[in-house]
Amino acid sequence: MSEKILMKGNEALGEAAIQAGCRHFFGYPITPQTELAAYMSKKMPKIGGTYLQAESEIAAINMVLGAASAGVRAMTSSSSPGISLKTEGISYIAGSDVPALIINVQRGGPGLGGIQPSQSDYWQATRAAGHGDFHLLVYAPSTVQEMVDLVFLAFDKGDEYRMPAMILADGMLGQMMEPVEFKEREQKAPIEKPWAVNGHKNERPHNIINSLYLDPHELENLNIKRFEKYKRVIENEQKSVEYMTQDAEYIVVAFGASARVAHSAVDMAREQGIKVGLFRPVTLWPFPEKALKTTVESTKKYLCVEMSMGQMIDDVKLATECRRPVEFFGRTGGVIPTVDEVFGAIKKLGGGN
């Protein structure tokens, strides 16, 4: 499949996972993510993989923990309320130092919320995807093609760092269709997983996957070690994309579907001579603070555009060390900001109406 085909974001996530070597999908249906599970249910049986619709989200994430513990690439997908149910299992996966992929096709919240697109799980993904001291790698695609590319990266980086990774998409990206290309990828040798519980064959001591520690000092040491790993992740894995930031006086910071709206709004503003650019975080954790920090000297103001009440603002303030004002424009509850609305917010940065 090296030519372009037309895919829904949800299907593209599924196909990318299969091509990245994932043969173990455990899920539970929820709008607006369901096509991903549906795609897996059609494809997995044909290629000798496992598609399993579990009895609940909680069961599904624990099946991911089990499969990933055996060293295979395993994943689950859901949408916001379903991810909340999975957070216990996500914490166990992180506490067991097991790589796995979790996909969140976000919808409006809190509570049962609604089925329209949203980005209001930013805090959950980057701050508290479960209890305890841990982080997830969090990737935020903004096109269907990028959904494909980031699934490969999320699996690779998860394996490399032995930690769970999340694709934080939203209903709009999940449901929309765009042309995508599955490029021929270099066949990399699968990363060794000497820790996996896949049968010791009397050739090594048996492995244990566990997140329970009877001695608090043992747990403390493990957490400290894990945070040394996170430091390496923060140092090496930040990703962002900039558009027209070279001469920008104002920078819009947006990710995912909001960044698509913001991109069009930046084009509109540029046509009117407003020097504005777009900074698009691709990793939300680690937040691309190094790249954003380099823009501070030449930037007068930042504008966060989100489909939430403004959950990314703090990260922008931290990255820019509060040296410039950070304004906000957002819509929430399943409402997508329009290009005109964001253009209006950009004009206001310079004092215009």
Binding site: K4, E35, M177, V339
Partner: protein, 224 residues
């Protein structure tokens, strides 16, 4: 050329372009002075559905019948009672936009007996060579069989809607003709139309017999 019949049902695989085709058929019919009713019978898709184009349709005086909670936050695919009126409106042309695959076509089953009693009806099977699960004739044939079984209706014709959205080239469409013929021979259905985005109409009008130009109406909110 796609003939607007008294009753037009549009089926196909997810993302084959049913909604965009339904909207174009409705607008063309309205411009010809016909009274049109569009039925959003999609009980599967949460977004990108005809119900979202209510204001566009009303500009053309096109009646829209949609599930009560379509395009809202409620995930309940209930049908409105007005849906029964489509069988009574002898003065109107009805275009039914059905959800994808057999899952979407299941709802048609409860109307199958009444649909079969209509003289002038078409059940169009929309295909797109560039969709991953219908890229071969055999795959497209398999999905049609599932749709026919779920809906308890037989398709009457194929609409070749092979495209790659805004980056579709003439070459993409020309290279889909053979695929459509293959689907046609496997399913024993005629190809009623080859859909072409309006920006390629001039290039292709002499090369394709049954060309049906369409505007791209269904697109994400940030697209121009």
């Amino acid at each position: 050329m796609l003939k607007l019949r008294r009753f037009n049902i549009i089926c196909g695989h997810y993302g084959s372009g049913k909604t965009n085709l339904a909207l174009n058929m409705a607008l063309k019919g309205a411009l010809e002075g016909k009274k049109i009713t569009v039925v959003d019978l999609d009980t599967v898709n949460p977004y990108f559905r005809t119900a979202e184009y209510k204001s566009l349709l009303s500009e053309y005086d096109i009646e829209l019948i949609a599930p009560q909670f379509a395009a809202t936050n409620l995930d309940i695919p209930s049908l409105p009672p007005e849906i029964n009126s489509i069988f009574l409106k002898n003065d109107r042309y009805v275009i039914v936009d059905v959800g994808g695959d057999d899952a979407g076509a299941t709802v048609l089953g409860c109307f199958s007996a009444r649909i079969k009693s209509i003289d002038d009806f078409s059940l169009l099977y929309v295909i797109n060579k560039y969709r991953p699960l219908t890229q071969t004739g055999a795959e497209a044939d398999e999905i049609l069989k599932e749709i026919e079984s779920a809906s308890r209706l037989k398709a009457t014709a194929i609409v070749n809607n092979s495209h790659l959205q805004g980056i579709t080239t003439s070459e993409d469409i020309l290279s889909s003709l053979k695929y459509a013929e293959n689907v046609s021979s496997l399913t024993a259905l005629p190809i009623e139309a080859t859909v072409v985005p309006d920006f390629l109409e001039q290039e292709l009008k002499d090369k394709i017999n049954n060309l049906y130009p369409v505007k791209i109406i269904v697109k994400p909110p940030w697209a121009n």
